[in-house]
Subunit: 109 residues, 2 copies
């Protein structure tokens, strides 16, 4: 199985474990956005949205560029790809085991 | 995009956000195991391992069968598949946007 940095995966999966953070990522998949634009659909306070943004940044899922008073956010795909690869490796591993069991049952009816 | 139960995804991603819980799932991919077997590689207390097991169960990633004093645990793939599908949908969504941008740049050089 492929090995990934455990700490990095903790942060990515932790960041994905909240509907607002997942919605922010889905929004950013359509293109860059300012924090104000990202916060708009949610009825939560500025400190609450900042906390979500920080968790996404710490996980490496989001980067921001500061232009004057505006923070432009963009999606960083690499970390998400690593987490998806971990899940895919699990699935493959499980399927191989299932295939081996099936073969065994065929050969030992 | 496909819609999944937000609460369920919160629990699954939250459960995946710890190296011990991911290691338990990887171990279970090779077949059923008792709690004692699952706890063996980790130098943590019985209450700590119980907490990890409970989080995996709550997320629907693990089920247990009680036989006498032994708890036999097995991996439940469905929830993991749903979380993987969410990630795949994100990737597809992002790639489509990237393809559209590429096409635009080709047509508007």
């Amino acid at each position: 199985m492929v090995n990934y940095s455990p700490h990095q995966l903790d942060l990515v999966f932790g960041a994905l474990a909240h509907p607002i953070r997942r919605a922010i990522l889905t929004r950013l998949a359509t293109g860059e956005a300012t924090i104000a634009e990202l916060a708009k659909p949610f009825k939560i306070s500025a400190p609450a949205i900042s906390k979500h943004m920080r968790l996404l940044e710490d996980a490496g899922l989001l980067s921001r560029k500061i232009q004057g008073r505006e923070h432009h956010c963009r999606l960083e795909q690499q970390r998400m790809k690593e987490a998806a690869a971990w899940m895919e490796a699990q699935r493959k591993f499980w399927n191989e085991r299932f295939d081996a069991l099936e073969l065994y049952l065929k050969e030992n009816p």
